[in-house]
Every structure is written in C-alpha cells, then in structure tokens.
Subunit: 578 residues, 2 copies
C-alpha cells in the first residue's frame, strides 16, 4: 500500500510540476527540482497487473526492496540454487536470512521472510543486489520442516508452489500474478529515438498521444527529462557488456558506454581456452591459446561498437584474478582425494590440482588481477587491444564511426599504466600497418585504488581519461569486500548507527568521496582536457550523483535501467549547484 | 661474502667517525650523520665463522631475516616445538609458512622455506621475531611426505639432520657451521642498564674496557648511540607479544611496547576454547568459553606488563578473522568426503564443516576482523579489556606501575571506535568497582585504513592515541595483500622499475606516506595532545624512520632486535630535519 501510495505520489509529483509550469506558477527549473530520481524509479518498476483476476493476497509485510517477483517457493538456499540452475524462477522463503543464504538470494527472483525489518539481513542484502524483497510478514508461519507457509486462516503454500511478492508494497500473493511493464519505461524508450532533435525547450507537444491522467504523466515525464538533459552538465553513460545491453542503454538515452567489462567474454565455452592461457608451459602454448581467443573477442566488440555507433565505448581490459577461470580449489581437492581413496587415482585431476594450488590466493581481491595480470601474462592485454582495434577497423571500412576507448584497471602507479599504454600504442600501430584505417583511441585508467588517487597528478601525465571505480575504491578505502561483509555485518552496523546506508549503495562522501575529489582535482590540474567519469554502482545513485556534480565530474555511468534516473538527477544536481 | 665486506666497512665507519670527533675534526652530530642504521644492523648479526672448515653449501635463496642459525631440520611446527622443548636447536623447514606455524617459528632458531619472497609470511614474521630466515630457496625440493630436502644434484637432508642457514646471505649449508655472536649486541645490552644515567654528552669514558680495534668499535657504537638518544625527538618502542620479547626489547633500549598483538594468545592449546566461542549456539555457551579464556589472558598480560614496568604497553585487541582459528576449509572438506566415500561417515567432521563453510570468506583480509569482530561477537573484546584491567590491578597491588594502553584495530569510522571505547570504559569501571585500584588507561586506535586516515579529525575526537599500521595501510592503499603478491609479481615489478624496493619494506611516501601525513596532521589538529606513532614493519626501516620524523610522529615501534637501529636512525633523522 505504502508504495502504491508512493507510486501515486510519484505520478502526481510529475504531473503537478508540469501543470504548475503550464499555469505559469513556476518555471521548468523549479519543476525539475520538485521531482526526484527516486520517484522516477518508482514509476519505472514493473508492477502486478491490477486486473490480474484471481489475485489471492495472503499477507502483507514490509516492502524491503522494490519490484514484482513471481516464482516457486523454495525453503532453503540449496533448493533455490538447484531450481534456478535448471531455469526456474524461485522465491526464497525463510524465517530470516543469514550469510549462509547468500547463494540462494543470488539465485532467487525474490526473497520473502516472516521476520526482520528494513535493516534485517534479508532487506539489506537484497537491496544491495537489486533483488525484490518482502520482510517481516509476521502473519505468515514459515514451517521449515513441513516446507510450507501457513496463513492465519489456514491456507498453505507448499514448496514448489507459486508465489508472487511485491517489493514495492509488501504484498504476498499465492499463485502467479501477471506482471505489467511500466508505461513510463515504454515512453522513455519510445522518446529516445527523438532525442537527437530535442531542443530542450520542453514543450512536449506531440510527444504523447495517450489520454487522461496516464497521458498527462507520460507527457510530464518526457518534458521533465528533456529539460533535465538541457540543463545537465554531466553526461550519462551506461555500464554494458553486450550488444543487447548497449542497445537498451542507448534507447534509455545513454550518451556512451562508460564501462564495458570484458570478463564475461572469457567464460562459458571459452573457459577451456582461458585455462590453456593460464596453464601454458611455454610462450608458444600461451600464444596459440590467445590466437584462438582473438576472433572471438573481435566479434564481441563488433556487436557492441555497432550498437553504440558514434558514441564512446570505454572497454576495460581484463580485471578479475585468473584463477576465477580455473576450477574451485576445494571442489577439485575433494574430487582428487576421493578418487585416490577409492583406489582410482585421477591423474589429470592431480596435475590440474597442482596448478590450481599454485594460482590459489588468500585474498583474490588483493591479488593478481587488473593491470598486474597485463604486466605478468605476456600478450593477454594486447590480445584484447588488438581485438578492439581490428573490430573498429572493420566497422570503419563499413562506413561506421566506432569510438572505443581503452581502460586499464587497478592501476596504482603511473609506471604500470605507462607500460601498458606503450604496448597498446604499438599494437594499434601494427593494426594500422596491416591495413586498418587510421586508429586513434583514447587510453585511460580506472582510478579505484587510494594509491592511484593520491598520485593522480602523475597518472594524468600519461592517461587521457580517468574513470572512478567507486566499488573497488569503497572496498580498499574501508578495507572490506562487498561479498564478505554486506551479508556478514552490515545489518549490525546499520542497527548500531555506524552506517545510515551501505557505502556500496550511496557513496561515502567523508572517506571515499574525499579521495575521489582529490584525484579529480589533481588529475584535471595536471591535464586540462582530462575526461573524468565514474563507473561504479554509485553512478546511478541520486545522492552520489549530486556529489559527483559538486566535484565537477564529466559523466556518470550506471546500469542501463538506471540511465533515466541518472539523467534526471544530473539535471537536478546541476540546478542545485548553480 | 658481500656482508663480510659490509661488516668491515660498517665497523670502520663507526670507529673513524668517533676518532674524528676525538681529533676535533667533526662534532658528535656530524659523526652521527656519518654512520647509518644499516651499518649498525650489519654489526649486530651473529655470523658464521670464516674458518669453519667443511662448509657444504647446498643452495642459496633470499636473505629474509639476518643472522646465522644452526639446528636440526624439522618439517612441521609440532616437531620443532617438541625438539626445542627438550633443548635442541631447530631449523623449521616448510614450503611456506602460515599462522599455524607460529609456535614452530617461535621455537626454532631459524626458518627455511622453499617458496615466498621477502614479504612472505615466513619472512615478515621471522623478521618481526628476529629469527634468522631464508625464503624462496626454489632450488630445494621440500618433501613433506619423505620429510627431507633434496637438492638438484641429488643430495638429501633428512629430518633431524643438521642444517646451517645464513639469513644475511641466503646461504643454506648441510651440517653445523660454527657461529660467532656479535660483540656489539652484547655491548648494547650491557649498556642499557646505564641508560637512565646517560647524560647524552657521549664522552663514553669507562663504558667499555675491551682492547684494540674491537674495543674501539664497541666504544664508538656506545658513544654514538648515546648521542643519538640525546638528540632524537621521536621515541622508539618495540613490537613484542611475550614477556621474553618485552624484556629483550627493554634491554635494547625500547621506551615501551608500541604493539602487543594478542592473536597468538588464542592459538595452541587454547584453539579449542576459541572454537567454542565461534561455534557457540547461545550467549551462555559463548560466555562460558570466554570465561575460560579470562584467566589465561590475564596471565599473558601479567608477564608483559611486569617486564615493561613503568613503560607504556599498547595492547591491540584481537585482529585476525575468526576462521583462522577454525580448521582449513579444503583440508576438512577432503577429510569428510574421503570418510564418506569409504563408507565411514565422519558426523562430527560434517557438523564442523558446516560451521567452517559458514565462516569462510572470499577475502579474509577484507572481511570480519578487527573492530568488526569486537562489534559482532558479544563479549570478545571485553574479555580482553577485563584481562588487561585485572592484570594491571594485580600488579598495582604489588606496588608495580603497569601502563597498558588499549588499541582498537581496523577502525574505519569514529562510531565503531566510540562504541568499543564506551564498552571498555564500562568494563574498566566494573573492575575498579570489584576492588581493583584506580585504573586509567588511554584508549586509542590503529590507523590502518584510508577511511580512518581521511576522517582522522573525527576519530581523534574520541581516540587518545593513533598508531599507524603501515602494513595494512600499504595493503589497502595499493589494493594488494602481502601474502598474495610478493611471490606472484613483485619480482616482475622490480624488474620493470615500477618499484625500487617493496613498499612493505620501505614506506611508499608518495601514496601511503601522503595518507599517513594527512591523518597525523588532522589528528593533532583535532586533539593537541594526541600521541601518534607507527607500529608497522616500517617502524624499523631507516628510510621510513626519516619520513616519520619529517611528519613529526611521536614514536616508531619495531621488532626488538631493530630497536638499536631505530634509536640510531631517530637521532640521525632529527639532525637531518633541523
């Protein structure tokens, strides 16, 4: 109810703001300041169909993380993981969650608990992951032995039966309630094709032909978005790793890709080739595996550059620890030991285990990853640079305008960056010499370590752009990793008043923000035309966006679905700053 | 060989500097500037007898912690402890060490590992304990099953056979090479008893009666040490966790304990009790286990406070992740799976495994440790505070003057600290009420996270002292963990000119140093009488000591054996600064 109210309030805010403009009571700037990104986000969530017919409301709890989720009830994490693995949508049902439930929460479409409040483990973790979540449904009895939910009036929902939960209202329904996509989302996607002609005057004529209150809302959103775009100083880009995500981001008005991660390009069927790169016993073996990856990587980039034709695409070179591509140490150890105990030694497994042990790290997040990989695994980063360059050359020949930018992750010292930059320029020159067209790509770096921030002036002497990786910067500045702590003790911390909100959700201005501000300032002092953006999750968070405006970043980059929110907040932040 | 020459040069430098003073060519300040801590360190190590006869060099690795050690090869900690307990000298031989090997390292005369670099666990811990250590002897194959070392040319050294290792050259010899103790160490220990009467004039008369070149050297060292103490602004404390180390540190002139770690107090026979604290299913179970630890902890502190009577002892509350006290996940998984495969299910093991899995972390260094433990495990830190308070009260009743200080590790936000401080003050008040004498201990914090440094002003509003944990600060500022990176890529980095020296050995002034300087400055601005020291490994490193003088820290703290070096460099740094 609360969010249905929220949604009504949000819709009203947009409509009324524009009405007041039309009545000459306020101007468009004032109207923009009267709506918020949070309200727009409310309007963008899918919701359960009002006319869904046989909706059977069985209880109402607290709305902990928005969205509308439908799936089979699973009463433990292992079951949720198993069912999700075979493609089923699952609602994880628990009395309350604890760190053991993390894998189940990741696998589930939604999370339902009978206990806990808005700072419970389930609520905090689900919000962090963007999972739909309802908590504290005290009226429901979650019976883990019988594996069923019982309502006060005697209804049952057993394991495997369908449930629908509304994370915006706290409602819990038995069965599958049909979900309606947001009309505002449809309108935002529709209007993006006109974006190039937008004059920013925001008169909105002819933009929507829908009738009544609904039509008014759509028109109000469109006019306010246009106005926001016209006053915003910061650009909004998206984090997207596939052509599909890139297209969606562009449809939502993204002015480029601020972060194209390349790690997923090494997974799936390619994992075996990557294993050969890692386990290579000679330069030749490694080189041959890399050569197999080249056409696959090139293909990856072709699709993304084409989707973003004419707009920048910042490609981050491989970041995660290499052993993420190897089998799990514990699983493999068990497999080998059991085979041995049963008198059927697994020689291949033993050989692989030795390598896995060799590459094992105590703290992978603080180990051999990012630029350190590029500096120690010969040819790896240059495979990626070549794939980028060849894809761009191919598109140019087809008359397109690809604009890749090469981003080096996890730099701590300017010398690390300078070595990779020099190698990359050589690779670009090779591709040009082999008949590619003229290729000039900006080469820049993530700023995600305090060391990089403290020496930003020196790094800007070499790098053409900075992109703040505020997730990693939050991890290193606070000395905690999101995977390990968000579930383990953030709920305690929020209860104790140490955090008001997770620093992975809203940027911690006093700590991380101070470091980011120093680096942005000193980077721009060292290189006047340095482009400085942010590509952490915070790029889509309203409060964080206002901070980034205050320190004059050039753009924020966020997940495609957050792009409209970021566009609205970029304009609002600009108005508040001037 | 290199060090033999070094030693001659070092001795000459000390003798000549003082001769020139006596000839009125230079004054004592100038003389002090003409010798170095590195030279003093050279003079302090025992060395293998030049005329030792049949030395059989079998391999050379990295010189990780200087000295000359001879003993029987032991291939695990338990064996080392057992043999040492019956009075034998032991060399602990491992592929690499981990915290479980601590008791073996303490028991051993020297530590030899086939893997790891200068910042590996073995190297860092051995340097901290002043144990001779050679690491990364890649040519040797350490066979833990056969319990022997094999050399490339087929020689063997079996368990119980004699080994000699030279931690200044990295040389490993089969058999016992005769050792000569350092006369300079003897003289430094001897003179420490006169320290209270030192007038700092440095005339050195009557301090040593040894004759000839040798006597001259001893006298020169003593006069220069006295002069250094008289001009130094920074104090020198020691990192010591046992009464024996504390006594040694004091004998070397330490003016207190800057870091008393408490983690080793939870190992060995107490591990089982700690396991019960972690695995407790109720407050009562946990409380009962903590109560068992109390008298043991109190006893630990009694010995240390007594050894440092009248001098400050900074006790760091428990820092490492709790699961370090639990069995290893992979080992236990293998054990349980093998038992299962053989049809003899290990039910106890299975139950324990579930708990171990629950506490497992992806990145323990970035997980549930330090103050986060104190805030989430009820009673844990307060057990420690009570043990400290009761020990101090007991010593006061005996007319002694214990001066404990309570240090909270891994603070990122002032609120974390404030909660622990409030609880600690309540515990102190309880102990006073129970009949203890008046107890007023300073309560302060490690500054080892960039977040703490960036908010140092706020933290100084609550904390009475800061101690920079520059090891952890280096880890978080650079985003790499000591254990994971040195062997993996530091050699590449040093080759590529990215580092001149490991930032774990000499403080990285541009990055970590900048953060430390900001925090020291803003801390003192917020609280005029804030005591600010450093207790990372860097506290014993000459170049780093000069940096700490330049930013006006109050003291450095280092391993006992480094105290004389730090005293000399503290004086020299002061002279250079003024």
């Amino acid at each position: 109810l609360q969010t249905r109210v929220g949604k009504r309030t949000a819709a009203a805010a947009f409509r009324i703001a524009v009405q007041l403009v039309d009545e000459d009571v306020i101007d468009m700037d004032e109207a923009l300041l009267r709506v918020t990104g949070a309200q727009l986000a409310q309007l963008m969530f899918p919701q359960f169909d009002k006319d869904g017919g046989e909706r059977q409301l069985i209880a109402t709890g607290m709305a902990a993380s928005p969205g509308a989720a439908v799936g089979k009830a699973a009463f433990d994490s292992a079951t949720a993981v198993e069912w999700a693995a075979r493609g089923e949508s699952v609602i994880l049902v628990r009395r309350e969650t604890n760190p053991d439930d993390l894998s189940g929460m990741i696998a589930a479409a939604g999370v339902l608990t009978s206990r806990g409040g808005k700072t419970s483990h389930a609520a905090v973790v689900a919000r962090g992951m963007g999972r739909t979540c309802v908590v504290g449904v005290e009226a429901l009895r979650v019976d883990l032995k019988q594996r069923e939910i019982r309502t006060p009036d005697g209804a049952h929902v057993g394991e495997g039966e369908l449930l629908s939960i509304d994370g915006s209202t706290g409602e819990v329904f038995a069965g599958a309630v049909p979900v309606t996509a947001s009309a505002v989302v449809a309108a935002l996607l529709e209007s993006s094709s006109d974006d190039d002609d937008a004059d920013g005057a925001g008169d909105g004529d002819g933009e929507s032909h829908a009738e009544g209150e609904h039509g008014e809302l759509i028109e109000a959103v469109q006019r306010l978005m246009r106005h926001s775009d016209s006053v915003a100083r910061m650009h909004v880009r998206a984090n997207a790793d596939t052509p599909e995500d890139a297209e969606r981001a562009r449809a939502f008005g993204a002015q480029g890709i601020g972060l194209c991660r390349t790690e997923h390009m090494f997974l799936g069927a390619r994992r075996k080739i990557v294993e050969r790169v890692i386990l290579a016993r000679s330069d030749e073996q490694r080189e041959s595996a890399l050569q197999e990856l080249l056409p696959l990587q090139r293909h990856d980039f072709l699709g993304i550059f084409e989707a973003m034709d004419g707009l920048p695409v910042v490609v981050r070179l491989l970041d995660p620890p290499l052993h993420e591509f190897l089998p799990d140490l514990t699983e493999l150890s068990v497999k080998v030991a059991v085979a041995d105990a049963l008198g059927k030694p697994d020689e291949e497994g033993e050989a692989l285990l030795q390598e896995v042990q060799r590459h094992n790290e105590q703290n992978p997040m603080l180990g051999m990853r990012g630029v350190r990989l590029g500096l120690t695994v010969p040819g790896l980063f240059q495979l990626q640079v070549r794939a980028i360059a060849e894809a761009a050359a191919q598109l140019k020949k087809r008359g397109l305008d690809p604009r890749p930018e090469i981003m080096v992750p996890l730099v701590g010292d300017v010398k690390e960056f300078a070595i990779i930059k020099e190698q990359s320029l050589a690779t670009l020159a090779d591709v040009v010499a082999e008949g590619g067209s003229d290729l000039h790509f900006p080469i820049g770096t993530m700023i995600e370590l305090p060391r990089a921030a403290m020496t930003a002036g020196a790094i800007a002497g070499e790098a053409e752009f900075f992109s703040f990786g505020t997730n990693d910067m939050t991890q290193t500045t606070w000395g905690f990793s999101r995977d390990d702590v968000e579930a383990a003790f953030f709920p305690h911390y929020i209860d104790a008043g140490i955090f008001a909100v997770s620093p992975f959700e809203t940027l911690d201005v006093a700590g991380v923000g101070r470091i980011v501000a120093v680096a942005a300032w000193e980077g721009k002092e060292a290189r006047g035309d340095l482009v400085v953006g942010v590509c952490g999750e915070h790029g889509g968070d309203p409060a964080s966006i206002h901070f980034f405006e205050s320190i004059q970043l050039d753009y924020v980059s966020c997940s495609p679905f957050r792009v409209p929110v970021a566009r609205l907040e970029a304009g609002r932040a600009r108005l508040e700053a001037i």
